[in-house]
């Protein structure tokens, strides 16, 4: 592959990022029917305001009240397949995670310190 073609390809890839982003984005805050879940992540706890929701869009707002950087994951029932995640949540900040969940059993996890299995909880979607 000549450098010119590689460069053209790279330019195309970088520019295509934007339509991809637009296509893969989802309505978050403006969804009136999204179930809002407040998550508070600390060093030894991961508190969710609700642990069940109807099938459809769910909006998790994760607040890091701990001292370490945290992450929030939504796993499938097996606890290893990632449905959605948000990383790099600095102490004192909040990040949103919007995801469409089908009916089933899920696991949520907060990972203060960005390592390990994290603090797990169950989440049911009906």
């Amino acid at each position: 592959m000549t450098i010119a073609r590689f460069r053209a390809g790279a330019l195309a890839a970088s520019v295509l990022v934007f339509p991809v982003m637009a296509a893969c984005s989802s309505d978050s805050a403006s969804s009136d029917n999204a179930t809002a879940v407040a998550v508070t992540s600390t060093a030894d706890a991961c508190e969710l305001s609700v642990t069940a929701a109807p099938a459809g869009p769910v909006r998790f707002t994760v607040k890091n009240d701990g001292e370490e950087v945290t992450e929030f994951y939504v796993y499938e029932e097996d606890g290893t397949t990632i449905v959605s995640e948000v990383e790099n949540i600095g102490p004192g900040t909040s990040r949103e995670l919007s995801v469409d969940l089908e009916a089933g059993a899920y696991e949520t996890a907060c990972k203060p310190g960005q390592a390990g299995d994290g603090i797990r909880g169950d989440f049911t979607v009906s």
Partner: protein, 285 residues
């Protein structure tokens, strides 16, 4: 504040190292006239990342995690391609410089340096969106506390300072040492970026093996420690590395390092007396 500072430092280092080496390289080859291209790339990547991050943070639409990982992973792999090109560009011109043209010659970079703009943009922008989201979240938190945004900005500032330090340090090496070691450093950095891109694609389930782990030392090297941060920010060392990442890293670093060192050590061809071996005084891009 310290944790936010470390994230800012880590995200900034990944870009400032490559840009620092690139600027040092342009200085050593007497092509400072190309610096505006580098700043154009850096500036556009910063602007676009901040704008996209703001739109996603304050706007009505979010970005699915899969899309984010796909973007980060793809841009990282494209960035590896560009850095690899840069590594062998350095090797070729190190040979040209040694062939009696040392000190005075400006290395020709054809095609207007578009590749330089793209290289600098990719170095900064491949993780720019993720960094921008983190920075905007810290900015949003100023309602309750300014410590996150102050920490983040201080971390990014230190990364820039360290990048300048790399640039100044690289300038003081003798020419042969400069090419050999900055090139080697870039190979290691690129290997880390490749592994990171693969991990992103594994998280998006585009590549398999997210939980097939080669090694996990995250108890000893905690990601949120200062040394974990420096290792991640410089060579993208992941305390928890998957098998696919490890294989990709090795399959990239070992051959490329070998080829690079061989390219740097090859004696330069003789100039003009032998018409079948023209002097390589131009590097086409």
């Amino acid at each position: 504040m310290f944790a936010n500072f470390l994230i800012g430092l880590r995200e900034g280092l990944e870009a400032s190292l490559v840009v620092g080496i690139l600027v040092a390289y342009l200085a050593r080859t007497h092509r400072r006239d190309l610096l505006p291209k580098v700043w154009l790339g850096v500036g556009s990547a910063v602007a676009v990342s901040l704008a996209a991050g703001a739109a996603l943070t304050f706007g009505p639409r979010g970005l699915s995690f899969k899309a984010q990982e796909m973007i980060g992973g793809t841009l990282s792999i494209v960035a590896v391609g560009f850095v690899t090109w840069m590594i062998f560009w350095m090797a070729r011109t190190s040979r040209a410089l040694r062939s009696e043209l040392e000190g005075r010659m400006a290395v020709a970079v054809a095609a207007g340096g578009t590749s330089l703009v793209l290289l600098s943009a990719l170095a900064v922008g491949r993780e720019g969106l993720e960094t921008a989201l983190f920075v905007w979240a810290a900015a949003q938190a100023t309602g309750s506390s300014t410590s996150p945004i102050v920490g983040a900005i201080l971390g990014l500032a230190l990364a820039v300072v360290l990048g300048v330090g790399v640039y100044k340090g690289a300038l003081r090496l003798n020419l042969a040492t400069f090419f050999r070691w900055t090139g080697a450093a870039l190979v290691i950095v690129a290997g880390g970026v490749l592994a990171y891109g693969i991990h992103d694609l594994q998280e998006a389930s585009i590549l398999p093996g997210l939980n097939t782990i080669a090694f996990d030392v995250s108890d000893t090297i905690r990601p949120s420690s200062w040394y974990g941060t420096l290792l991640k920010g410089t060579v993208n060392f992941s305390p928890r590395t998957t098998v696919l990442e490890a294989i990709a890293w090795t399959c990239y670093v070992v051959p490329v390092l070998f080829l690079f060192w061989r390219a740097v050590r090859t004696p330069a061809p003789r100039p003009t007396s032998n018409p079948t071996h023209p002097t390589p005084d131009a590097v086409s891009v």
